[in-house]
Symmetry: C2
Subunit: 202 residues, 2 copies
DNA sequence: GTCTATATTTGGATAGAC
DNA sequence: GTCTATCCAAATATAGAC
């Protein structure tokens, strides 16, 4: 069973392990408050050892974000859902996220931190939101063309609102998990906004 | 016209000035990445000078958050709106916020940063969200009793969603102001959720 | 590829003079 | 109330041995 891993079959093992731990650490502490020393220690390396694989701390952050992108794309894999199916998929994602606190924490902490001056992830999040917006708008347009969408006015605004609810719920959920049901609330907002129930889960 | 300022008529001048500058700095850099040195310099003091007024950096952050609370309460002043009037007030706040980037930045950055381990503002934001939730739920209950509210199911979920949209929109707006109209999007979500238009602006 | 050692900077906080 | 001086800890990054 040949692996499709492109660059190095075994030399990248350590690198991936460092990335995994860096992800956890950035999620737990934020970027600025996380230290290479902690990441190194938890990786069973020294600080210099980590910096052999990633020349700078910002480079390490970039690596983490690229890794996340890759696994997100892999997760979709078999052709992404279209129209209302994508909105359904967003709700499913919210549900799955309730079992993946680390990921939620990573994105919540870093996205907000990225709006500070000179933050290395600023461009990443700017273009990420642009991508998310485009994706949701496209889905809404597809639904509208298929006649499945009563609300056809100002789709970009609709998309912004849907993305915003999901983000905002995450902050509340991280601070007080018992107080928030991310999936239900997301479903409710989307349903209310588009004026029609979502298709059943795949 | 006698001032109602309680503790010191003139000695607190410097203290307030430091708080103002600290607020800006925390908003721009986040808590961890802001330094007392920078706050001191911008205040025209040395680091030790600042620490004379606030014994620790965390104490300074607490001071900033208390100050904001006080001015928020002052802003409401003449009896807070009830029922749907409060939801209208939320939309108005979103509109005003588009002219107060500093405040938006402060809350967005700090609330997300507060979910990290051992953050000094964690309790503050936990109880702040609890307070916001209670406030919105109460308003929804009032509206329901007055027969102004078609959607009466699961009001806490409704409240969470409304708060979440507002927060989420702020992140997007800070990264790309032209891409988001916070007030319009907030209005649209609230209207869709409660199933009835909001009363006209006061 | 990983380590030790170190350079360099910067952080928060304290002591004591003025 | 503010400063200077200082302490101590921690941070990122580099050089060079193994």
């Amino acid at each position: 069973m040949p692996k499709a891993a492109p660059p190095r079959p075994v030399g990248a093992r350590r690198r991936d392990e460092i990335l995994r731990i860096a992800m956890e650490t950035f999620a737990t502490r934020g970027y600025h408050n996380a230290s290479l020393a902690e990441i190194a220690e938890r990786s069973g390396l020294t600080q210099a050892g980590v910096l052999h694989h990633f020349r700078t701390k910002a480079g390490l952050l970039t690596g983490v974000l690229e890794l996340r992108d890759k696994s997100d794309i892999d997760a979709l894999g078999d052709g992404r859902p279209r129209g209302l199916g994508l909105l359904r998929h967003l709700v499913d994602t919210a549900r799955r996220n309730a079992e993946r606190e680390g990921i939620v924490r990573l994105y919540t902490v870093l996205s907000a931190e990225s709006v500070t001056e000179g933050h290395p992830a600023q461009e990443y999040f700017r273009s990420r939101y642009q991508g998310l917006r485009t994706m949701v708008i496209t889905a809404l347009e597809e639904a509208a063309e298929a006649g499945e969408l009563p609300a056809t006015r100002d789709l970009p605004e609709l998309a912004n609102a849907i993305i915003a609810v999901m983000d905002g719920l995450q902050v509340q959920w991280l601070l007080d998990p018992a107080a928030v049901d991310m999936a239900r609330a997301t479903d409710r907002v989307i349903t209310a906004l588009i004026g029609v129930p979502l298709p059943p889960e795949e």
